[in-house]
């Protein structure tokens, strides 16, 4: 109760909760779920982009893409570390991912079919991620908040590169422009869905907001993304696939059409084109890598034993 009060006051005063601080069990659990889900998303998110590494259309784009994917692996690593400060091991989190208990962002269940999809992911998916992460920089849990600061810097770099890649297509040959438009058609709505259900259908949000794990509502963040992105699409000369989209002169925001939540839940629940493959890829890498991880541990043990034996002589 005293601890509880101290916790509540600290959160209310925009202080940061640190790993050694007392925290309500549900706060801890919520954070573990959210941070590990975020880590899994970075990890699984390497796959749709990795799908184009060997086919990138120029060496410069190939290097940019590889570098981006490397950053994602790095983000995944920070995030697993942040979650580990809450007393859960990376292996346990991976186990939950592999057996389907833990989730990752459903956007990665869509396939990257053309090079323009890679550009669109950089522009839209990273764009949406940044809106969310900027908000999370003010999260009440210290390690997560600091990870977000670091990640946001790299993500906005990725987003600019994605936009630039999209620009090259939009200003390119008719085939390139068509490829860009088709990518926007396929990725627009899933990007909006990344912010999660409407506030009215998002029952867990209230407690998270109170604990300042979450700082803005799903719908607010989504609106921020739309407002930011539409002028960019206009500048590219591409058409956002939403006939209801228009600037609302009164609010100063863009109004947009109804999201097809049925599709959202379909994909979340396993009916995206890549759900099975993404998970199978992660499981296969884990299973096929088991002997390598065991070997590394065995070697480290032997080496330590040898050092000890040498010291004892």
């Amino acid at each position: 109760p005293a601890k509880r009060t101290a916790f509540d006051e600290k959160v209310a005063a925009e202080g940061k909760i640190e790993p050694r601080d007392w925290m309500p069990e549900k706060y801890r659990k919520t954070l573990v779920r959210q941070i590990s889900q975020h880590a899994h998303s970075e990890y699984v998110g390497m796959l749709p982009e990795g799908n184009w590494v060997t086919r990138a259309p120029s060496l410069r784009r190939k290097a940019i893409l590889l570098s981006k994917i490397q950053d994602e692996a790095g983000h995944s690593l920070y995030l697993y570390s942040a979650a580990e400060t809450l007393g859960v091991s990376r292996d346990a989190m991976l186990e939950a991912l592999h057996d389907g208990r833990a989730k990752y962002s459903s956007i990665f269940n869509y396939p990257t079919l053309t090079w323009a999809d890679v550009a669109a992911i950089g522009w839209l998916v990273d764009g949406a991620a940044i809106v969310n992460q900027v908000s999370l920089q003010r999260c009440s849990y210290g390690p997560y908040s600091r990870a977000m600061v670091r990640i946001c810097k790299e993500e906005s770099f990725h987003q600019r590169q994605g936009y630039e890649a999209m620009m090259a297509l939009a200003q390119g040959t008719p085939e390139q422009k068509k490829m860009a438009q088709e990518a926007l058609n396929r990725w627009w709505w899933p990007s909006l869905m990344m912010f999660g259900p409407s506030d009215k259908d998002s029952p867990n949000s209230e407690q998270s907001m109170a604990w300042r794990i979450k700082r803005d509502s799903n719908d607010d963040l989504r609106q921020r993304f739309v407002d930011m992105t539409i002028p960019q699409a206009d500048y590219l000369g591409l058409t956002v696939p939403d006939p209801e989209l228009k600037l609302n002169a009164e609010t100063g925001h863009y109004d947009f059409g109804e999201i097809d939540w049925d599709e959202f839940w379909q994909v979340v629940n396993g009916n995206g084109i890549c759900n099975r493959e993404r998970l199978q890829n992660r499981r296969d890498a884990w299973d096929k890598g088991a002997w390598v991880r065991e070997a590394a541990m065995a070697h480290a043990d032997k080496k330590a034993a040898r050092k000890l034996a040498a010291a004892a002589e």
């Binding site: 120029s58 590889l66 390119g172």
Partner: protein, 252 residues
């Protein structure tokens, strides 16, 4: 040394880097542990970066307007000059690390020597690359040791992996007319002379790993000097080059 030979000499180096970088990039998202996703991507990035510098330099010397992408994306298999070793498929993690290690040790010696090349641009590229390659060599060598000195299973896999690639290493030390001309011009390297240093470093790492030098007797050559590759390279190129072939004359 004529201009064609100079260009060819640079392409041999660049093709090694790009093909091996490509192979490593195939691991992207599939490494045995997240830290290796980062490390292998890092090596792939270095190698692709080296290929870009070498290709750009070759294109300038050639003077026919080919840039790095024209060189990478618009040559068919017989015009590639990488050694057979680097184009071999990834296999398992031991295969990948055995291939990488035997190449890294050679590549380190080659680029060390190239820092003194009379082709100043090449010497500058080599100086930059050498720092990267020095890391590559340590990274792959560490894995040879970990796997060789790890479990029974990893040791067996590393032995099998070394056997599978060992016969591709003779090619690394072969000198043909182009190599000799490059050497005579002070541009190139005496590859034959690198063998003792290569054997000594490889031997030391194998010893630390508790492994013997493979006793395989086969040996194949011809990729680097004649473009006589294995059947694997064509499939690699079909993937690598798809976009530039399918959408010619586009900017990306």
């Amino acid at each position: 040394m004529n201009k064609d030979q100079h260009v060819e000499f640079l392409l041999r180096l660049g093709d090694n880097s790009l093909v091996l970088g490509h192979r490593l990039s195939e691991w992207c998202g599939h490494a045995p542990v997240l830290e290796e996703d980062i490390a292998m991507t890092n090596v792939a990035l270095d190698l692709i970066g080296q290929a870009r510098m070498l290709y750009s330099h070759a294109g300038e010397i050639e003077g026919k307007g080919r840039d790095e992408d024209a060189i990478a994306y618009l040559r068919d298999v017989l015009d590639w000059r990488n050694c057979l070793l680097v184009e071999q498929p990834n296999g398992d993690f031991a295969d990948t690390m055995a291939r990488q290690f035997l190449f890294d040790v050679w590549n380190f010696e080659v680029f060390s020597a190239l820092t003194k090349s009379s082709d100043e641009q090449l010497a500058a590229i080599a100086a930059k690359a050498l720092k990267e390659i020095s890391y590559h060599r340590r990274h792959s060598g560490d894995w040879v040791i970990r796997l060789g000195d790890g479990t029974e299973e990893s040791r067996a896999k590393m032995i099998a992996a070394l056997d599978r690639v060992w016969g591709f290493t003779d090619e690394l030390f072969q000198m043909d007319d182009v190599d000799k001309a490059a050497l005579a011009a002070g541009i190139g390297v005496d590859l034959e002379a690198l063998r003792p240093a290569w054997e000594s470093h490889v031997g030391a790492v194998l010893a630390e790993a508790g492994l013997e030098k493979p006793s395989v007797t086969w040996s194949v050559k011809g990729g680097r000097t004649k473009g006589h590759h294995s059947e694997h390279l064509g499939f690699l190129l079909a993937e690598l080059q798809f976009m530039q072939r399918a959408y010619p004359n586009s900017n990306w």
